[in-house]
């Protein structure tokens, strides 16, 4: 145990303080001050994260124990932070990219009223706080706290412009779909408690969940991992719970960059990577994870082909890239998946912020059909956006190439079919990204004269983060250069190895021949290059301006999945609620209850008729009853 690791609680503390400051004093803080508090808090966390990272790099990992959260019966859930290779890497990504996005936001949101500006920053800080809890928690409960916390912040930020009902609906949809996933997560936690009596990842005396995998039956492991994965599909927008993410683009663009691209949606990958030993132990779950990941990657990529909203394209691209990460997790390439999380955080944040810069310049126009030729007006945005596009398309030596290649190579090892489909998805990625790029930046301007007049490059507070992210998108992949290209250069793999050691032991070490690997790389790179060329050539001159028809229409309508869900779930639930409320509640249960009361009323009215007031009839009744009793007595006598 080391001093600096004991101070790990400082990392989430700064954003929490920023949240409270900005939230409580939102009426008295000026905009620059708010921005400084908000960004400064994340910067401070970043500094501590770097210190922690350096410490971990030396080989020191540990747990910072704060207090016992719940202590009941035999269950003890500590509120403790785990600092190891995996979490320190995520800390760097979250606070680093988070800081850049905070800075960017200060300029992007400057048209907001100061109290709302402060509200925005307090939400962002609260989000960073929750996200840090998520990755630093030393057990599933603290992870779950962060997990629901980020869901809440996502809700608040999507619905940030709360006057707009449509945005509110998107926010609500995001929260509820996340809740469905969370239910799976929660049940998985109960399962662990029932079988193992603990939710801690790992303890020094091997008493944690991940230490005791051997105590679980195959059914338990499969059940727990599948349920956890249900949680991940909600948070990381996988089939069947992905539809909230494109709608979530209703939020401010920096929010989309931070939450819905770089950090929150990767929580599912983090969680699976954290539980890697469980997943490695269940072949069924691995197949499911890989299958869902692959299906999502392709489905989302096809939808992205026909979207015309700049943010929607990026959103579907995010869903698709997340699918690749799950493919990686499903085939046991945990390092590859985490690597892709990192590079994706760089280039997707870059693309979103670039899109934000475009939207900013276009006065909140998001339809790419009304853009075009922006290359001339937004030079910095153009260059950085191009870098992002090349990175995501997987052209070496940009970062996306290395991480995607690692996942695809591992997929090939598991099943060549995975590779074929994955590579096809990669082609689609390259295609729709360059369709987006060409339609937006190349060709001639298609907007109104007024928009053209106002076109301007964004202020430096926005372009500097773009440049930094662009540089990272280029060089970010160099920490994971595959063995075949340069011996011993996969420093990320070496760094993360301790976290995945147990899984690595369990999986037989296949290795792929060098020639095959070159071939695989070559196929994807050349394919991507062709796709880029075709897309650029086609869309720079004749962008698609009309409404799509035929198959394109199905894609543009997202395969009608939203409509299908509406038909399958939302309507029946509402119908059931209506029936229960108006029929069962009022007509049946209340009818029964009131009926009992009415019966008493009715019968007493009937009985009252006997009280005629005729003394004679009373006496007659009396005599008759006495006679009846007399007769009865004769019969009852034994």
């Amino acid at each position: 145990m080391n001093n600096i690791i004991d101070l790990a609680w400082l990392v989430p503390l700064f954003p929490l303080a920023g949240f409270l400051l900005n939230g409580l004093f939102r009426n008295s803080l000026s905009r620059p001050l708010t921005g400084i508090i908000g960004s400064g808090a994340v910067l401070a966390s970043f500094v501590v994260s770097v210190l922690l990272f350096l410490e971990v790099k030396k080989g020191n990992t540990g747990v910072a124990h704060l207090f016992n959260f719940i202590e009941v019966d035999k269950l003890t859930i500590p509120f403790a932070f785990l600092v190891d290779q995996l979490s320190s890497l995520f800390l760097l990504i979250i606070t680093g990219v988070g800081f850049l996005i905070h800075v960017y936001s200060a300029a992007y949101m400057k048209e907001e009223e100061p109290p709302h500006f402060a509200r925005y920053f307090s939400y962002l800080n609260l989000f960073v706080f929750s996200m840090l809890l998520l990755v630093m928690g030393s057990n599933y409960i603290v992870l779950f706290i962060g997990w629901e916390g980020v869901g809440l912040c996502s809700y608040l930020l999507i619905g940030y412009w709360f006057k707009n009902t449509e945005y509110n609906n998107a926010a609500k949809k995001a929260f509820i779909m996340n809740r469905i996933g969370d239910l799976g997560f929660l049940i998985a936690i109960f399962w662990m408690i029932a079988k193992l009596g603990t939710v801690t990842f790992s303890t020094p005396d091997s008493g944690g969940v991940l230490d005791k995998v051997g105590d679980l039956t195959a059914v338990d492991i499969t059940g727990i991992t599948l349920l956890l994965f249900v949680g991940a599909t909600g948070k990381s927008a996988q089939i069947p719970l992905y539809t909230w993410l494109p709608d979530a683009m209703a939020g401010p663009t920096p929010v989309s960059a931070l939450i819905h691209a770089a950090t929150m949606v990767t929580a599912g990958i983090y969680m699976v990577a954290r539980s890697n030993i469980l997943y490695t132990s269940s072949a069924i779950t691995q197949t499911v994870v890989a299958g869902i990941g692959l299906a999502t990657a392709i489905l989302a990529a096809t939808i992205a082909l026909k979207q015309n909203d700049i943010k929607k394209v990026l959103a579907y691209s995010t869903v698709s890239q997340l699918g690749y990460m799950f493919l990686g997790l499903g085939v046991g390439a945990y390092t590859g998946a985490v690597f892709h999380v990192m590079t994706h955080a760089f280039f997707k944040a870059l693309l979103f912020l670039g899109a934000g810069s475009v939207i900013h310049a276009m006065h909140h126009e998001q339809d790419i059909r009304k853009m075009g030729g922006l290359k001339r007006y937004l030079p910095i945005t153009h260059i950085t956006f191009l870098v992002g596009c090349i990175a995501i398309a997987g052209i070496p030596p940009f970062s996306g190439f290395f991480s995607k290649d690692e996942i695809l190579a591992a997929a090939y090892l598991r099943n060549p079919l995975y590779y074929v489909l994955g590579a096809a998805g990669a082609l689609l990625t390259a295609f729709y990204m360059f369709r987006l790029y060409a339609t937006t930046f190349l060709g001639s301007f298609r907007g109104t004269e007024e928009q053209k007049h106002h076109l301007h490059e964004s202020p430096s507070l926005m372009t500097i983060p773009l440049i930094v992210l662009a540089v990272l998108s280029v060089i970010g992949g160099w920490v994971g250069i595959p063995e075949v290209l340069m011996h011993g250069a996969h420093s990320l793999g070496d760094f993360l190895a301790p976290v995945f050691a147990a899984s690595a032991e369990k999986m037989e070490a296949h290795s792929i021949s060098h020639s095959t690997e070159y071939l695989l790389m070559g196929v994807t790179v050349i394919g991507a290059a062709i796709a880029i060329f075709v897309a650029t050539a086609r869309y720079r001159r004749n962008p698609e301006l009309g409404e799509p028809t035929g198959f394109g229409k199905i894609l543009a309508n997202k395969w009608y999945v939203d409509e299908f869900y509406q038909w399958l779930i939302v309507r029946p639930v509402n119908w059931l609620a209506k029936v229960l409320n108006s029929f069962v509640e009022k007509e049946f249960i209340d009818w029964l209850v009131n009926g009992v009361g009415k019966l008493v009323n009715y019968s007493s009215r009937q009985v009252r008729l006997l009280q005629s007031g005729q003394v004679g009839s009373y006496v007659l009744l009396m005599v008759l009853s006495i006679l009846v009793f007399l007769v009865l007595q004769f019969f009852i006598k034994k």
Partner: protein, 487 residues
Amino acid sequence: MPVLLIVIPLLSGLIAFLVKQEKSVKSWALLSSIVSLVISVMALTTKNDSWLHYNLPWLPELGSSFNVGLDGMGKVLCLLTGISFPVIFIATWNNSYRKPNNFFALMLLSQAGLMGVFVAMDALLFYFFWELALIPVYFLCSQWGGERRIPVTFKFFIYTFVGSLLMLVAIIFLYFQTPDKSFSIDSFYAVAQMSPGTQAWLFVLLFLAFAIKMPIFPFHTWQPDTYEQSPTAVTMVLSAVMVKMGVFGILRWLVPVLPTASFQFGDNPATLCVVGMLYASFVAMQQDDLKRLFAYSSIAHMGLMGLAIFVPSNMGMQGVMIQMFNHGINILGLWIVVELIERQMGTRKMSELGGLAQKAPVLGILLVVLALANVALPLTNAFIGEFLMFAGVFTSLASKYHYIFAVVGAISIILSAVYTFNMIQKVFFGNTNSLTAGARDIRLNEKLVLSALVVMIIAIGVYPKPLLEITQGAVDTLISKMMIKNP
């Protein structure tokens, strides 16, 4: 100390009848309730155990005595009662009532009854206080309620009174079974093994009594109507504290007295609870009136408590204990918000509201936190309770169907998010309309009360240990009592 908890509201309630000026009777009621709060806090912290018990012969011929005492569960519930009344009085400070002296006197009398229920260690005394708490509420609803108050209150009264009578029958029957012909709780716990048939009947009688009070589906229909028609101050008493009498009754007078029957028939009430949770959640989705919405949401939450009791486990019981407190705090806050909206806008219909977040940001923030507690988001108090209850049910060994109960019940987590966030959206977000355009933010006293509740919600949600420690002893005793007569 438990005697003081009863006597102070009782006496000050009687005195309040005589104070005719509105201002002074309000202050008097507030003062009295604050004194009760202080005493309940002292009861919570005291180390001297002898202060917590008091025994005086009452009806020695019948074997009944004025036997009161506080254990962990009683302490927590007395604290809840102690907190609720000052909060209610402060939050409704700006309301004016006809005949204020009667109103506040009856409120204080019902507080005395509630305190009595939570401290009574004698069955007859328990019954006595149970009715004492009920009757003032009847008058409060029928005098100061809404338009349909007379039929609704009548239904409420008859419904709960039937329950009370069933309980009385069971209590008297049990009395004749006790070894020393006594009403004291220890004698009840010592009741020898009865035939399964007898146990079943007693179980049904007592269960009905408490189920009506909680209320458990399908005995709940008095609740939404009563909540809707009562003045909000009374609704707060009803839902924050009075429904806890039902849970408390089950925990003190049903499950430990008839442990074998509880094990044998526990699946039936548990099924009712699960069905009720989902049913109430679905119905809540269709409500337009805020009061009815929270009434159904409350039914769903009480259903979970019932489930955790009838599928028992140490963890689940612990969850029930602290959830009783948490639910009281949360629902209190929600009612205050409803009250504020209704007083200002003159309506509780969600369809007529909207855009309040622009006009009343503070109220909006506080409500969002309360709503989050209502959906049991982590780091709010309700998460601790619900997590422990669900985990307890899931891991319980008492029922064959515990997995099914836990999983099906947990669906209500999703549904609660649906109706709660719908409510927030309809009331607070969107654009203002002609009605809400003139809204203003809340007053200082209201702000203070709500903030205090919100702070409590977060504090318990982050650091629940003190609360868990208070109730741990009571849970252990309870579980051991349930296990004694069972293999």
